[in-house]
């Protein structure tokens, strides 16, 4: 069957400690995620296609060379840009705000945890991160994808009235068509994965 019941999601892991990067990478790969690791918040933003002083990814790069990131997991304590700073930048970005972010920390500080959750982090993992923690990631990714689809659906129903005329609009409707197909196949994938008996 060609349907991808267990879509491989891509996680971006951010940690300044090489040892912890190695660990989180292994944990994620063992849990069937595609992984990219970086050692700083600024590098993370680069991977996400955002420069530190931007709030949205460049509209001038329609080719989208950046790989799609489905979730960001970041250490809290990092020199320079902390995990909290990174979280803020992501949530303030119009293009990135829907990417789920998980914060990790070796310290159990309730005010810190609350601050992160309030800023939009999905979860807070206490280090050392466990294999069982990885199971909590997929629901956040799927929740985000479902929201994304709902948005697409709304957009589609709004733009069924096609404006005939300039070539620009033809490109737009072609884009829409491509999106429709994407949405359809995604919906099929999600339907399969939610009914599959895979224990995450």
């Amino acid at each position: 069957m060609a349907v991808d019941a267990e879509a491989q999601f891509h996680v971006l892991a951010v940690d300044d400690s090489l040892m912890d990067r190695k660990l989180i990478e292994r944990l994620l790969k063992t849990s069937s995620f595609q992984v990219t690791t970086v050692d700083s918040g600024s590098k993370a933003l680069e991977v996400l296609g955002l420069k530190e002083d931007q709030t949205s990814t460049s509209a001038l790069s329609p080719e989208h060379n950046e790989i799609e990131v489905n979730l960001v997991i970041t250490d809290y304590c990092m020199p320079g840009m902390t995990g909290y700073d990174l979280l803020k930048k992501i949530k303030e970005s119009s293009s990135l705000k829907d990417i789920p972010v998980v914060i990790m920390s070796s310290e159990n500080v309730p005010s810190r945890i609350n601050r992160c959750l309030e800023e939009g982090a999905e979860e807070f993992f206490l280090k050392p991160v466990q294999l069982s923690d990885m199971r909590r990631l997929r629901p956040h990714i799927l929740k985000g994808k479902y929201k994304e689809q709902q948005l697409h659906q709304e957009e589609n129903s709004n733009t069924n009235h096609i404006i005939v005329g300039s070539s620009n609009n033809n490109t737009m409707s072609n884009k829409r068509k491509a999106m429709d197909e994407e949405v359809l196949s995604e919906r099929t994938r999600l339907r399969f994965s939610s009914s599959s008996l895979n224990v995450i």
């Binding site: 400690s17 040892m19 660990l23 292994r26 050392p128």
Partner: protein
């Protein structure tokens, strides 16, 4: 440097003695055919990191006036590494050190750091034996 041959009874000893905790089991669990040297690699990284940090702390302790924030920062990293590998005893000594740091108690820091270094050295020896 370390050759991982997995003598299970030896490992249990190290755990039972309290030097390593369940976190070390997790590292073992993460090792498989796709990552056959994982434990060895992590342990190697740990000693690389920790040796550097111990040296940094040694140096920082020599300085006057004492920069407790910097010391605490180094120790936070060292503690994190110890925790990631499951080095229970060493982690506890790191916590003590940080408590002295918070109180800006230099004497306490010096005493506590001796203990950290001792645990670190013992751990190195135990793991070297284990990996042989």
């Amino acid at each position: 440097m370390f050759i991982y041959t997995r003598p299970a009874y030896q490992f249990c000893q190290v755990v039972l003695q309290g030097y390593l905790d369940e976190q070390f089991y997790q590292l073992e669990e993460l090792q498989d055919e796709s990552s056959p040297n994982f434990v060895e690699e992590v342990v190697t990284l740990f000693f690389r990191d920790s040796s550097r940090l111990v040296a940094n702390i040694d140096q920082a302790l020599q300085k006057y006036p004492q920069d407790f924030r910097r010391l605490d920062n180094f120790m936070h990293q060292l503690k994190g590494s110890a925790s990631s590998i499951g080095a229970a005893k060493m982690k506890n000594e790191c916590t003590s050190f940080r408590e002295f740091c918070n109180k800006e108690n230099r004497e306490g820091c010096l005493r506590s750091f001796q203990k950290v270094k001792k645990e670190h050295a013992v751990l190195k020896q135990k793991l070297e034996n284990y990996f042989q």
